[in-house]
Assembly symmetry: C2
Amino acid sequence: MVRALSDDELAAYFALRGAGDRLQRAVTQQLRAHDLTEVQFSILARLGSGSDGIGMSELARGLVVTKSGLTYQAGQLERRGLVVRRASTDDDRVVLLHLTPDGKALLARVLPPHITLVRELFIDRIDPSDLAIVRDALAQVARD
Amino acid sequence: MVRALSDDELAAYFALRGAGDRLQRAVTQQLRAHDLTEVQFSILARLGSGSDGIGMSELARGLVVTKSGLTYQAGQLERRGLVVRRASTDDDRVVLLHLTPDGKALLARVLPPHITLVRELFIDRIDPSDLAIVRDALAQVARD
DNA sequence: TCGGACTCGTTCAAATTCGAACGATAGCAG
DNA sequence: CTGCTATCGTTCGAATTTGAACGAGTCCGA
């Protein structure tokens, strides 16, 4: 038998979905001004967070996209000169994706308003003393 | 000047995205056994939560989908006999979407495992004494 | 070293999604 | 009542996303 969700539990679940949707909508809309989709931004942001390139499969696992979807978007970004593909020296099967200088420059333009948006919609709406609780709780959900 | 996000804030942001993605992946995979996409399930679930039909635009606003996307999916569900379109008596522009008996039956089959999944991945991972805090915090984010 | 199982990134066709139209209806100020 | 504006759901073409192949490379036990 399945135990139904209590009102509190249901409300928490809806709040999680609602918060995610809300943030996604706002981010998507903001990115459109820079001709970037959410997926494309995620790729650039992930590449920008480290100094080395990232393999396609590893990248696809981190984002919410299939390998073939990433192949397509990597092509779009490469066509715009924001990203380059390079062969891996370690593993001949692997294609490493790297940011170009143009890609870094675009990321540098897009990131500040993105951070402002996250602050406005997420961080600033949570009581600072609750933030650690929320962070830890959500991290448990995200955990594999 | 944009104030950067602190480590804690950034971790909270990533945790939110991670939690949402994690849940979405698991739900999507589970629904595939019933030949339903996440969007289709959302439509059925929303229709099932009330006894009256819901207008297309109102429905689209609640879900993360455009009006034209909803037109398409409503067509898919109608083709499978899970849903029917009816004219609204109040407003001739409005098309009300209703669950059919088959739609209700399918929803009744899909909901229990869905609830079990939500419990397993979300509710049970959060300390019960923290749940209210998480719920309220996320509700603030979801708020318009 | 061989062979089988796995992972890599890509290709392809099909399914889905989007945004910009559009015709029809509602609501409201004058 | 008459315009004007907004909202309704749909259509259309283009863009994106998916899943199932595939060829190539890696790994590991026999």
